[in-house]
């Protein structure tokens, strides 16, 4: 009796929601085909994937490709390049929009505020190809503006994009330039939600603007900051592929070759699918561990977390 009653209820609900479910269908198909099917496709990292045999008929090889990757001479350099680039980005590009939001919050002239905001959103809409093109032409040792001014000021021209030491600063600076204004929007929204009475009370207690920022503004922004920080920690290993790919060249691979560009090269250019997929899965799992750890720590030391 019970199962029948339950399935009847299910049928009734199904009938009631049939249009909603139908509307959900394209979205569901998209997620199953383009997001979940690749997850199951990761099984090729445990197989010796053969183009002609297909995923299921290819022979199992266990952890062979993981062992190859962990033992390869590239492994340490790739991992450290990726982590260093990710951490440098986290250290400089994450606080940048918070600082900009705080600065904008101090501005009382609406015109200035609006002008700065409008202009600083702009680079966010420019493609990575354009940004990379701009970086490379501006920094060109022979014709670039930057070196032109360095020469005018009496310095030696620097060949920025063929010296490994310059890659990380250039990359992180270009990231900040591109996204700082846009990312500020979220923090500004958090700022407008702060109760003005708190500031009034602080002023009566004799707090200057600096103390107000420290004791009211920042604590009130904390939930937003923490949540975005957790998301960013998850991205440490998952740095935007496009721009690194566009900026890097073999001359600076010692700092600029990261896991995703390596996966592209090994997997798609050389057709080593199984090996590349094992690196993909390895990175994805570490990223997941990062997010869980960051979320766990955030929940432990503050009340704010993603879940």
């Amino acid at each position: 009796m019970m199962p029948e009653g339950r399935s009847n209820r299910l049928m009734r609900k199904l009938n009631k929601d049939k249009y909603l479910l139908l509307m959900q269908l394209p979205c569901l198909i998209y997620y199953l085909v383009f997001r979940y099917a690749p997850m199951f496709g990761l099984v090729i990292s445990f197989k010796n994937y053969n183009l002609f045999k297909g995923v299921w008929a290819s022979p199992w090889v266990g952890l062979k490709y993981y062992r190859t990757f962990l033992n390869s001479p590239d492994f340490f350099e790739l991992l450290s390049n990726t982590v260093l680039l990710g951490v440098t980005k986290l250290a400089f590009a994450f606080p940048a929009p918070i600082i900009l939001a705080l600065l904008l919050n101090e501005v009382t002239a609406t015109f200035l505020k609006r002008f700065v905001q409008t202009v600083s959103y702009l680079p966010h809409f420019i493609s990575n190809v354009v940004v990379a093109s701009m970086v490379l032409t501006f920094l060109s040792p022979s014709t670039g503006v930057v070196n032109h001014y360095l020469k005018v000021l009496g310095f030696h021209p620097v060949n920025f994009m063929s010296e490994p030491g310059w890659f990380r600063p250039v990359y992180v600076l270009s990231e900040i330039w591109q996204h700082v204004g846009w990312e500020t929007i979220i923090y500004l929204a958090a700022l407008t939600a702060i109760d003005p009475q708190l500031y009034e009370a602080a002023r009566i207690d004799g707090a200057n603007r600096w103390r107000q920022t420290l004791n009211i503004t920042l604590p009130c922004m904390a939930p937003t900051i923490i949540i975005l920080f957790i998301f960013n920690v998850g991205d440490v290993l998952d740095i935007g592929f496009e721009k690194v790919f566009l900026l890097a060249s073999p001359a600076i691979y010692s700092t600029a070759d990261i896991i995703s560009t390596y996966v592209y090269r090994v997997g798609l250019s050389q057709g080593n699918y199984s090996y590349a997929a094992s690196i993909d899965l390895f990175t994805a799992i570490i990223s997941l561990i990062f997010v869980f750890t960051a979320n766990f720590l955030a929940r432990k030391f503050s009340e704010h977390s993603i879940w």
Binding site: L22, M23, C27, P38, L122, V129, A132, T137, W177, I185
Partner: protein, 289 residues
């Protein structure tokens, strides 16, 4: 007593912000100025903000380049088809997801949110796309990135705020969920459609990743690929550019800037009009981010 210190601080902050704004906008003005200047001024490095020896020679070369023409046409096609597909799938899915009492609501939500933290990665995704026969066609540019989870969540949040009384009255009048969505919800929430549509359109216009992975033949290349080939891979001289006189190296610089300007112009031109929509979208997204 605090007044002088306060105004000094304001002045310093104002200056910092103005400098920042200048660093955002100057590169574009500089590229525009160089691309519109005469060769000899570019060679001397005399161009800073205002074009010298105004001429549009490099733009004529760029626009005459058949690669640019094809790429422009492809990009516009991808943007129109892709935005239509993305917007339809996202808005329908988001509306259904905004109904908390829908069957399987929680399961679908988890299914979608999980993809924000874990994915198959480049290679397995490529194998799926290739397995479906989408490689080297417009569908490879449009389908694999059709739904952005972020946009889906923004729209869902927005639809969840739609007054349910209105929908119930529609239901009483005999409309089904789809008709409620089409006749009642859509007309009222036009702004969110515009916003998310713009997000998708800009994303497709700028999409280089899909083209790099899934496109093979030149005839399908969008602007971003051609831009990269011309500027980063140094294939400036295609057919008719060789005839340009003067210091080739420096002329290349103006040419590159002209190519950048031509491929970015649509966004630079519409941006001031669309900015408020973008910001609204980002704000809605941040509320429940």
């Amino acid at each position: 007593m605090k007044k002088p210190q306060f105004s000094f601080m304001s002045l310093a902050i104002g200056l910092v912000l103005l400098l920042l704004a200048a660093s955002m906008i100057y590169p574009f003005l500089y590229m525009l100025a160089v691309s519109l200047s005469g060769d000899k001024y570019v060679i001397k490095g005399a161009v800073t903000l205002i074009p010298k020896g105004l001429n549009t020679k490099v733009y004529r070369i760029v626009l005459d380049d058949p690669r640019i023409f094809t790429a422009y046409r492809n990009t516009i096609l991808y943007v129109f088809v892709g935005t239509a597909i993305s917007l339809a799938a996202t808005s329908l899915g988001a509306y259904a997801l905004s109904k908390k009492n829908m069957l399987f609501h929680t399961a679908f939500t988890y299914l979608i949110v999980f993809t924000m933290f874990f994915g198959g990665g480049m290679i397995p995704t490529f194998l799926v796309v290739r397995g479906l026969g989408l490689v080297d066609s417009i569908w490879g540019m449009v389908l694999p990135t059709a739904i952005s989870t972020w946009n889906l969540i923004i729209m869902r949040t927005f639809f969840a705020g739609f007054p349910s009384e209105l929908e119930e009255s529609g239901k009483i009048d005999g409309l089904n969920d789809f008709q409620v969505f089409y006749y009642l919800v859509m007309p009222v929430t036009k702004a969110i459609f515009a916003t998310i549509g713009l997000f998708y359109a800009v994303g497709i216009w700028n999409n280089f990743y899909s083209a790099l992975l899934y496109l093979r033949s030149q005839e399908h290349f969008p602007l971003q690929v051609v831009l990269r080939n011309i500027i980063l891979a140094g294939q400036v001289r295609s057919s008719n550019v060789t005839s340009v006189g003067g210091d080739q190296l420096v002329v290349e610089e103006s040419l590159k800037y002209a190519v950048i300007m031509v491929s970015t112009l649509p966004i630079l031109l519409v941006y001031p009009f669309l900015q408020k929509y973008f910001v609204k979208g980002a704000m809605i997204g941040s509320v429940k981010g």
